[in-house]
């Protein structure tokens, strides 16, 4: 736990830097912002679904692995006896702080509640890779994604289950040391992209970040061929006493769907997020012109890891 806090503190600095670098004379471009962050949800109502001893922390898209300020996010894999949970540690931590803040300021109007508290990565706004949680159930051989969508899109918050994805790994003979562990290279094709993973036989756990896993050792580093997303281990905790693996009760209310449908929602949110912004401000307050170059410039295409 202490280690995480330690990582946090350095990340906390990045907030300072972000503020410091914001030059007030420069106007905010649509293009500077991703879809806004989803509103926080209560972290008090959690169900204990399993318990485990190992937590693994991954940096998402670090440009300098020794500098948490350069991470897009800090993510955590909690490995239980039959379940594992993969989630954004920063998002979860912010949710906890906001929950606590709301408890202390019960009379404050909803629109005054802070969106984000505590440390965060350099990535701003919404991304499915920050706001989805992935539970791998090894007894049912099933993976469930719980996807949280920004602001008023939260009514489309959805879940789906699929058979536990099996990547057809080809092990190579290259080695690399990641987080002090000797790792071996493995590659695979998975849903339209080519991945490289580095796994360690010293941690015989067939798991990894995001949907990846199935190797005889834990995946400590993984990335796709185009390096759109990279996950790299920055911390491993071996708890002497078991910690509970928890699941937010709100997930039970999430709309049941399938992977393809959710894919469409995500695409719409990503590509048409001004609609989302307008929804957030109640509409009308911000007028936009679809021919406005700023608006067109802003239209970030949806480039997910899963192409099929």
């Amino acid at each position: 736990m202490k280690k995480v806090v330690f990582i946090f503190l350095f990340c906390a600095l990045s907030i300072g830097i972000n503020f410091a670098q914001k030059d007030s004379t420069e106007e905010l471009h649509w293009a500077d912002v991703n879809p806004p962050r989803p509103s926080s949800f209560k972290t008090l109502d959690m169900n204990v679904v399993d318990s485990g001893n190992i937590k693994v922390f991954y940096a998402l898209n670090a440009t300098d692995i020794s500098d948490p300020e350069t991470y897009d996010d800090l993510q955590c894999l909690e490995i239980g006896s039959h379940l594992s949970r993969y989630y954004s540690y920063y998002v979860y931590n912010s949710d906890s702080l906001v929950t606590d803040w709301k408890k202390k300021n019960p009379t404050v109007q909803d629109n005054m509640v802070p969106f984000q508290l505590g440390p965060k990565g350099k990535f701003q706004g919404w991304s499915e890779y920050l706001y989805s949680e992935y539970f791998k159930d090894f007894s049912k051989k099933e993976l469930t994604e719980y996807a949280r969508l920004p602001l008023r899109f939260d009514k489309y918050n959805a879940r789906y289950s699929e058979p536990l994805p099996v990547q057809d790994w080809v092990v190579g003979d290259e080695t690399q040391t990641v987080a002090g562990y000797l790792c071996q290279k493995a590659t695979c094709q998975f849903r339209g992209r080519e991945y490289t993973a580095w796994f360690s036989m010293d941690i015989p756990v067939n798991n990894g970040p995001w949907k990846l896993g199935g190797l005889p050792g834990l995946i400590l580093k993984a990335y796709d061929k185009d390096k759109l997303y990279s996950f790299e281990c920055v911390g491993i905790e071996n708890h002497k006493q078991k910690f509970p693996v928890k699941m937010n009760k709100a997930f039970g209310q999430y709309m049941k769907t399938d992977r393809k449908k959710l894919w469409k929602y995500k695409k719409e949110v990503q590509e048409d997020y001004i609609k989302v912004s307008l929804a957030a401000t109640g509409g009308g307050a911000v007028r936009f012109d679809a021919t406005d170059p700023l608006y067109r410039e802003r239209q970030l295409p949806y480039i997910p890891l899963e192409l099929e």
């Binding site: 806090v5 990582i7 020794s66 562990y181 071996q184």
Partner: protein, 884 residues
């Protein structure tokens, strides 16, 4: 090589395809239950696997290997079962595992981050990076952080300047008594120490009034927040019979903070430094009243740790509570009680050379007992918002102190050999309130400050018998000094910002009324009371009325170039109402005290700063009373000139600072110069052994200058911190002795260095040395003594055979060239053992059993020698345990 291998390999592949090895088998535990685990195969001697699979629910697996290795390693592994390998020949067949389940121990990993990081004006020190196994409190760790310095009294400096604020989680709970935090908060509960450079505590004045001091903020670990932390310590020892006790409780939450401590001991441990206010701190109370005019002659204390010489019974209780009432509003309550009983014993010999080859030699062999009782309470309400600042601070203090000294005084004057007793009673009471209000409207700030203070201190000093003063033979002399002080001030100010210049104007007025009522009475040997003659009495009101205009101009160019100029103009009216001769004197003077500060950041790391000031001063009540006051048993002082004391002084300083947080390198080079002029020259005459103040109407000057440097560097290698410092100073002035004016000069060099290093987890070494060479002499006298050289070396060693066990040895060696017995060496040892809940410590102090400390100093005009009785060799066993 690889390519060749690949070529050969690709040629062989079709062949090898036929030599595929298939391994099958089951994985079961000792009880015969099937296990679902990973099974891998690799060539013997290779560190990479060639194939893998997972055993099924029946524990069955099947693996293929395509390769030419003679032997294969088949491994079944899982976190809960461990790693189990078997070496088999490269042949298809069955390999069954029957394994003993053994959970695997994973090595934990943390991303390695730089120990210090900078964001803007904030430096973040990772506490973990500087914490060693033997560091308990956050002070232990602060001492190791490059750029941060903690002196013996606990004052924290950053780049040689004392800090102006100390926060815990951004809240100022202790209002300057930060020793309570640094000596009690455990290092493991703090995650980051933040240094806030150029810290302006008042948010409404940020970017408006410059500050060159830094503040410290402790960021706690998540696990230390929002819960009650309690610990206790109990200890006993010999010799003499010793005890030590502590009870501390603290609670830090977002809206509430509390620290409550009790400490007590008779083991020589100093408690006062923990609760003292530190210099440089940004206080919000009215400056304390005058120091007592009276004192007893007590043994001089040696420059070694207090625990070596103090015979004490000390108790301290502190309670500090902070409530956050709103976003920016805080209320702080604090109470500090300190009780101390200190015995001292020592011998001193001083000799004052007088013009004309005569001298006064005084030998004193004194035992003293000082009893201290202090109670201070304060109530503060503070609102610190961007646009508005409000602060009200109410302080009430009471103290009941007394000193008793008995001893023998011998002198060459009149062959004196007397046993004397001295008794000083010095109670004091004070109450003060200050109110500060600042409001920003647009770019303008409006400020009002109002304060009131009252203090009352009835002191008295009794000496008996008195056979050494003139031809009198008295049973006792009693000096009483009652002082009453009332002061009040109102300040308003108005600030505005024009481009990059902040202009701050203030109008203020203050009243300071000081009453002094003194009387020196006696009792003769027959017990008859002798009332004071008028020359031995004072009934004086020394009142100062000031009206002034403040002007402050601050220029800030993107934080790189900063300049501030202050030109206060004061009209100073002083009335001295001396009621014994019934004489009222009134003075009116104008004072202009300009000062200038500039700093420029040449690069992100390198900065230059310079400053200068000029000031005028018109003395204080000590220069105004005309009846004799017996300040101590052999000092009888009064002022004989009815002029107003006037002095002027000017000074300048410049410094160059280099601070590179990433390289952990901090350097500071500075120079300073000062000159002062005054219209009166003070001096001392001797009447027997009695020192009598004399004043002549003779303008005098003094001058001094100096250079200093300091540097510190942290190395990742062995967690090493290196500090170095040095300096030179020179000065001259004039002194009046037995009606002759002598010019004295002094000069000195000093240098020091220290290193702290941790070569491995079980050893920590620290070493420091200080060296100085100084002399002072009089131009008019032809004799020259050699310069005094002194050195001290301290070394410490920590050995940690296990994580829970530590042994500490520390040595302290001192050398002083002015004494015959030049060398003093102390050795102490400590053994510490800790487990989850308790920490045991056995301290062995003064293993060489050094019983006396001897020191001396001399100038061409006087010599001084003293000997002090130290505490003997002692052992103290204490246990500290967590209550919560």
């Amino acid at each position: 090589m690889k390519q060749v291998f690949l070529c050969v390999f690709s040629l062989l592949v079709p062949l090898l395809a036929y030599t595929q090895t298939t391994l099958t088998g089951t994985v079961k535990n000792k009880q015969g239950e099937p296990l679902v685990v990973s099974v891998t195969v690799q060539a013997k001697g290779s560190n990479t696997i060639a194939g893998f699979t997972t055993s099924d629910k029946e524990g069955k697996y099947s693996l293929t290997y395509k390769g030419t290795a003679d032997s294969l390693v088949v491994t079944a592994s899982g976190v809960s079962v461990g790693k189990h390998s078997r070496v088999v020949p490269n042949r298809s067949g069955q390999v069954n595992f029957s394994i003993e389940e053994k959970a695997m121990e994973l090595k934990e990993v943390t991303v390695t981050a730089a120990p210090i990081r900078r964001t803007g004006d904030t430096l973040n020190y990772s506490v973990r990076a500087y914490t060693g196994q033997n560091d308990r409190t956050i002070e232990d760790v602060l001492k190791k952080m490059p750029g941060i310095n903690v002196d013996g009294s606990g004052t924290i400096s950053y780049n040689q300047k004392p800090i102006n604020k100390f926060y815990i989680e951004n809240l100022d709970l202790l209002k300057g008594r930060y020793g309570i935090a640094t000596k009690n908060i455990e290092a493991k509960d703090v995650s980051t120490v933040q240094v806030l450079e150029n810290h302006q505590p008042i948010k409404a004045l940020a970017d408006k009034i410059l500050s060159d001091a830094a503040a410290i903020n402790l960021k706690l670990t998540e696990s230390a927040k929002g819960k009650l932390i309690m610990s206790a310590l109990a200890g006993a020892g010999y010799e003499p019979a010793m005890w030590s006790a502590e009870l501390t409780a603290m609670y830090f939450a977002a809206g509430k903070q509390n620290m409550t401590t009790y400490k007590g001991n008779n083991a020589g441990k100093d408690l006062s430094s923990e609760i003292s206010m530190h210099r440089g701190y940004d206080y919000d109370y009215v400056s304390p009243g005058d120091i007592s005019m009276l004192s007893i002659a007590a043994p001089s204390t040696p420059p070694v740790g207090k625990n070596r010489y103090v015979n004490n019974i000390s108790n301290s209780v502190t309670g500090n509570q902070l409530f956050k009432l709103g976003k920016d509003m805080e209320m702080t309550l604090s109470a500090v009680y300190y009780n101390d009983r200190v015995e001292k014993e020592g011998y001193s010999l001083s000799e004052q050379f007088l013009p004309g080859d005569s001298s006064v030699r005084i030998e004193e062999d004194i035992k003293s007992l000082t009893k201290t009782n202090n109670l201070e309470t304060s109530f503060k309400l503070n609102s610190n918002a961007e646009e508005k600042f409000f602060n009200n601070s109410l302080n009430i203090k009471g103290s009941w102190n007394n000193d008793r000294g008995t001893g023998i005084t011998r002198s060459n004057v009149g062959d004196m050999n007397e046993t004397l007793s001295q008794y000083l009673s010095s109670p004091a009471f004070s109450v003060d309130n200050s109110l500060d209000f600042i409001k920003n409207i647009g770019k303008k700030s409006y400020k009002i400050f109002f304060s009131m203070a009252y203090s009352h201190s009835p002191h008295s000093l009794t000496v008996s018998p008195v056979n050494y003063f003139g031809n009198n033979s008295l049973a006792s002399l009693e000096q009483s000094v009652v002082s009453n002080n009332f002061s009040s001030s109102v300040r308003t100010s108005y600030g505005l910002k024009v481009k990059k210049v902040n202009m701050d104007y203030g109008l203020w007025g203050s009243v300071d009324l000081k009453g002094l009522d003194t009387e020196l009475t006696g009792t003769d040997t027959l017990g008859v009371f002798i009332s004071a003659a008028d020359s031995l009495k004072n009934d004086l009101w020394y009142n100062t009325y000031q009206i002034g205009v403040n002007q402050n101009y601050t220029y800030n160019s993107n934080g790189k170039f900063k300049a501030s100029l202050a030109i206060p103009i004061v009209n100073h009216t002083l009335t001295v109402n001396d009621r014994i001769p019934d004489k009222v004197t009134k003075y009116n003077r104008w004072i202009i005290n300009p000062s200038l500060k500039v700093s420029y950041d040449l690069t992100r790391e390198l900065a230059v700063a310079a400053g200068g000031n000029f000031r005028k001063n018109y003395g204080n009540m000590n220069d105004a009373y005309t009846g004799y006051i017996m300040h101590s048993y052999r000092s009888l002082l009064r002022n004989t000139i009815d002029h107003l004391f006037e002095s002027r002084s000017g000074g300048a300083n410049a410094s160059l600072q280099y601070r590179d947080a990433f390289r952990e390198l901090f350097l500071n080079i500075g120079a300073n110069y000062g000159k002062s002029w005054s219209n009166l020259l003070y001096g001392f005459d001797y009447n027997g052994i009695m020192q009598v103040k004399t004043t002549i109407d003779q303008p005098t000057q003094s001058e001094n200058y100096g250079f200093n440097f300091s540097g510190s560097k942290g190395f990742g290698f062995w967690k090493t911190t290196l500090n170095m410092s040095g300096g030179y100073h020179e000065g001259w002035g004039e002194q009046l002795i037995q009606n002759e004016i002598l010019t004295y000069r002094s000069e000195g060099y000093n240098a020091g260095a220290s290193i702290n290093t941790t070569p491995s987890a079980f050893i920590n070494l620290s070493y420091s040395f200080g060296w100085s060479r100084s002399r002072s002499f009089s131009e008019e006298l032809s004799t020259r003594f050699p310069p005094i050289r002194s050195q001290n070396h301290t070394a410490g060693l920590w050995l940690n055979p296990t994580k829970s066990f530590g042994i500490n040895l520390s040595g302290d060696y001192r050398y002083n060239s002015a004494v015959n017995n030049r060398n003093t060496t102390f050795l102490d040892a400590k053994v510490r053992y800790k487990n989850k809940q308790t920490e045991w410590e056995l301290e062995c102090n003064n293993l060489f059993n050094v019983r006396q400390y001897v020191s001396a100093s001399y100038t061409d005009l006087s010599t001084y020698y003293y000997r002090y009785n130290l505490r003997q060799r002692s052992f103290l066993l204490s246990v500290k345990f967590k209550l919560k």
